[in-house]
Symmetry: C2
Subunit: 383 residues, 2 copies
Amino acid sequence: MSWVAGADGPWGTHNLPYGVADGRIVVRIGDQVLDLQSVLALEALRSSTLNDFMALGPDAWRAVRERVVELLTDEQHRETVEPHLSPLAGKTLTLPFAVGDYVDFYSSEDHATNVGKLFRPDSPPLYPNWKHIPIGYHGRSGTVVVTGTEVKRPSGQRKGEAAPVFGPSVRLDIEAEVGFVVGVPSAMGDTVGVDDFAAHVFGVVLVNDWSARDIQAWEYVPLGPFLGKSFATSVSAWVTPLAALATVPAPAQDPEVLPYLAESDRSTYGIDLEVDWNGTVVSRPPFAGMYWTPAQQLAHMTVNGASVRTGDLFASGTVSGPRRDQTGSFLELSWSGADPVKLEDGSERTFLLDGDTVTLTATAPGSTGRPVVLGEVTGTVTG
Amino acid sequence: MSWVAGADGPWGTHNLPYGVADGRIVVRIGDQVLDLQSVLALEALRSSTLNDFMALGPDAWRAVRERVVELLTDEQHRETVEPHLSPLAGKTLTLPFAVGDYVDFYSSEDHATNVGKLFRPDSPPLYPNWKHIPIGYHGRSGTVVVTGTEVKRPSGQRKGEAAPVFGPSVRLDIEAEVGFVVGVPSAMGDTVGVDDFAAHVFGVVLVNDWSARDIQAWEYVPLGPFLGKSFATSVSAWVTPLAALATVPAPAQDPEVLPYLAESDRSTYGIDLEVDWNGTVVSRPPFAGMYWTPAQQLAHMTVNGASVRTGDLFASGTVSGPRRDQTGSFLELSWSGADPVKLEDGSERTFLLDGDTVTLTATAPGSTGRPVVLGEVTGTVTG
């Protein structure tokens, strides 16, 4: 039990996510933050990003976490530690890590099936490669922004009658995702095995991969999404360390995957998301049901010898469950606009209007048995 | 006329590309390099990458270039400057800039047409969007490597009879490209106009975007190329400043492009490439014929409000001309393997074998009237 007031809530010592507040690395405890470089003599913590610390690897991550728990629970440390706690309120939270490469996967079978049904109603909804490959692509790392950043509606080309037309996107959407942050790099030419996930990945963020469906639909053949996605990707300010999370079984796969994707212990995280649209919870996407696990994504991403770097972010792809109210995009939730979503203020929505705010939150089973709350990711659309 | 011996050749004061040798910023003059921080009092030059210098913008770029020309031509500086010249031979050239985002375009009409004919023989070779959009996608910036780096043949999935098979790529290819390096960043939400190219772009590199065609063909629907490209992209060690290059007219476009892509002065660079395969020049791709210019690529890339950062690299896409011996990939040169290429040693090639070396070189009309040689990019395939 922590001596910190309010630590018996969701932000207790079972959680302890890392962030950067007012330019310094902190962990969150209750409604306060602990300034880490003031209480731990570790050079990597003297930084305005988590990268140097994340590069140290699992032994250092474990040692720091254990020491922080000790400092915050043992009364004998209270006198020395308390001066380095301060209220979270009023602090500026910045992007907690410098992003290397950003990769976005497409790993929900329900999402891929929904998209297939909407865009190719006369064909099988999944492409032949989908159950063999964790399909993914590179996104723009320079426009990954922290929660709270306003998102300006992008302009671009969309399909017109005779010729394309240019203007602000008229089908602006979200994608509710879970992102994984690489700590320990790999060398070019090496691979990261499917069972080596925890030796490389530091933690988890929530991701909103804002998407302009009209721009995307016109541009994506044959090289994939580009400007329909590259204008902004929002992530939470808190990185939840893997150590805080319990693992849960992942769904069975059929057909059998190739050996490099075959996990000895097929597991994932039981992260339950909530999508809030202007104050109404419109969807509850379940991450545990994703067909491809983050360990498979990392193994796939490196099987060709591509290196990973500290700060690389790879996101799950839109998290959608089998039910309509479990979908992670408004494309699916409104069935491409055919079935508007009613908000609690009585208004109806299909895609995003200027002024709309979307907030993703999540909880997950924690490694101590207490559930873990993940950091939210929120953003408001501006015209 | 420079007082440096050998400066009357292709690496004279009309050229002066920037690089990083033994960890310090240099310009090349003849077969020597000039250590810049020793002769210029500019903090941004005290670095092991060009990024800080590139961020300063066109006025600083111009001032430094003019001063270096003066130092290397005016005899009165010889005594103070000569001690800071040293032979290039024996120096280690590293990646001259830290890469932000890497974007790869697809801007040669001949290349896109050839690929269309090969892969979709029963359809029009160009997709409906191709003449409206400079089609592009994000590549992996963490695996951009400097010339001379060995390229390990990637393994991955490729299409099989009943199920995909896994193994080393059997259709390993090159893509001869020209890359543009961003100096001056733009803010998120802003756009870079099609006439503002020179206010942001610092210089040019040669690029070999190594490609595993079998991996790419199986993975790329619907999100584009991923592991077929992400294992390695090689760039030259020298960044040729735009100031060294003359502009030449770019091809006319039909149909008319949207206003944000319409240049007031439609121009490009007359970069003539050579592709050398194990000592035989097999192709001479002409960059000037590319349908989309780099100014249009940059304007398109930012029209949705995506920012660019110092160090961002955007490449032209495979440079192919109308003739077979002007194509920038072996997919085209060997017509997908149907028409092997004879090398001078008598051997025949379709795709790359282990041990093969490919070297791209190029020359272009220079701003002083003397032709400019660009830095080569070479790589050898290992098994």
